[in-house]
């Protein structure tokens, strides 16, 4: 069994390398992917795209060596060295450019994660195991097709699970389905959030009238029947004041928002604006 497992590793590694090479060499987004990757801080912006394609070429070459007969251990060694190098690159990217995109098996924006590191580690182990292969993978598959298929299926599943680039194909749809069935965020009641009131306040003519006076974020707020009262700190002619807004609580009507500027020291209302319907002095 161990001999079989070792023998089919070149097929798995070769397939992954072929896919990776195809992304780097033939995708229309390859240049953009290179520019988003950690190759930019590593080799510079101008050399990132050529370096990306060079890596793709090497991957293609190693994949061809692995997939085509014969199966000398040297090819497995090359694959192991490539995986080790890639593991090192990912570790560097995680530290030096954590917001960069992996650019590994997809041109989609995918940050370097522990899963990606795990996948590179899996391929490294596979490469080392392949060094013990006594025969070419095709011969092993012909001899024991079902066992070979089972081993490859399990390993391919592991690669998929460890590939964040592929989440959109299976993991996210599963999570969406679960959310559709269980509706965990439904029933989020509890009244009108303050943010909705502040949004309405900032849309209002009353706010634009006094915006230059306002000196702070929301200081306090309370509900008064159909209104929500929202207070900001303000400065009026050098004096400390409060800008008191009355915002319709249960309907969206920025034109109805009213404001009063109240002197903090004396409690006197020094200015007042009743929405679009202002009263003359």
């Amino acid at each position: 069994m161990l001999a079989l497992i070792a023998a089919v590793q070149p097929l798995l590694i070769g397939a992954v390398l072929l896919w990776s090479a195809a992304v780097k060499l033939f995708s229309r987004q390859a240049t953009a992917a290179a520019r988003r990757s950690a190759l930019v801080p590593l080799v510079g912006e101008r050399r990132a795209a050529p370096a990306y394609r060079l890596v793709g070429t090497v991957e293609l070459a190693v994949a061809a060596l692995l997939l085509l007969p014969p199966a000398p251990p040297l090819e497995a060694g090359a694959a192991a060295v490539l995986s080790a190098g890639f593991l090192g690159y990912l570790a560097y990217a995680r530290r030096a450019a954590p917001a960069s995109s992996c650019g590994c098996l997809s041109t989609r924006r995918t940050p370097v994660t522990n899963r990606g590191l795990g996948r590179a580690g899996l391929l490294l182990v596979a490469g080392i195991a392949a060094g013990w292969a006594g025969e070419h993978w095709l011969a092993a598959v012909r001899q024991r097709p079902l066992a070979a298929a089972a081993v490859l299926l399990v390993e391919a599943a592991a690669v998929v699970v460890l590939s964040p680039e592929l989440d959109a194909r299976w993991l996210l749809p599963l999570r969406r389905l679960r959310a559709r069935i269980t509706r965990p965020l439904a029933g989020g009641g509890g009244g009108v959030p303050l943010f909705a009131t502040v949004q309405q306040l900032q849309q209002s003519p009353a706010f634009r009238q006094v915006a230059a006076l306002i000196s702070s974020d929301v200081r306090e707020h309370w509900d008064d029947e159909e209104w929500r009262i929202v207070c900001h700190g303000a400065r009026y002619r050098g004096r400390v004041a409060t800008a008191v807004f009355a915002v319709p609580r249960l309907r969206y009507d920025p034109g109805a928002v009213r404001v009063a500027i109240v002197d903090e020291a004396t409690g006197v209302t020094v200015a007042n604006f009743a929405g679009a319907r202002s009263a003359p002095a």
């Binding site: 999570r175 009641g189 959030p193 909705a196 949004q199 200081r219 807004f245 007042n272």
Partner: protein, 200 residues
Amino acid sequence: MSATMDRRRLLSTAVLGGAGIVGATALGSLAPEAAFAADPVPVEPGAPDPNFAEGRISKISGSMLLVTGSDAVLHSIRVTDGTSIWKLTPTTFDRIAIGDGMYARGLRLPDGTLAADSIWVNIVSLHAHVAAVGRNVLHLDHNGRRIVGHVVPGTTAAVYNGTPAVSDVSLLRVGRHVQVIGAWHPDTNEIDVATVYAAA
């Protein structure tokens, strides 16, 4: 408590009661057009702003906050009755704790302290992908790391493609990109979600 109620009654009457109405003409010199012509804040672009402070609260003494900035500079922040304090929602001085992160904007006084107009405690602005949703929780992928966002009923608001904010966050789709304004739980990977901006 009754002082607060009296104050609120005064302020409510001022804006709703109609007594002593002074019309918009009294505010004429402060029309938006005049404000548009105002000069920019006179601090050199690119330079540290002396009227702003950021860091973690290391000591609370009376109404003063001692804050250790990310550049290891110490800031003394003076909090008054006129200071607004945000910690997920507008709140009071007693809710501030040692170890909280904060940003403060105000006026740098001659004695070197910052008289704060606004303080935002533990506020974060994150861009993330929604990795999964759970009961009152959003699992967010932020720069390759997982952040747990707690939905707070009555407080958390969602803005879907620029429309007026609503409390219903159930329309957030797994896999979509969002911007989240929230309150960080210090020294954890968890936040309370104040506002979620979701793309179309």
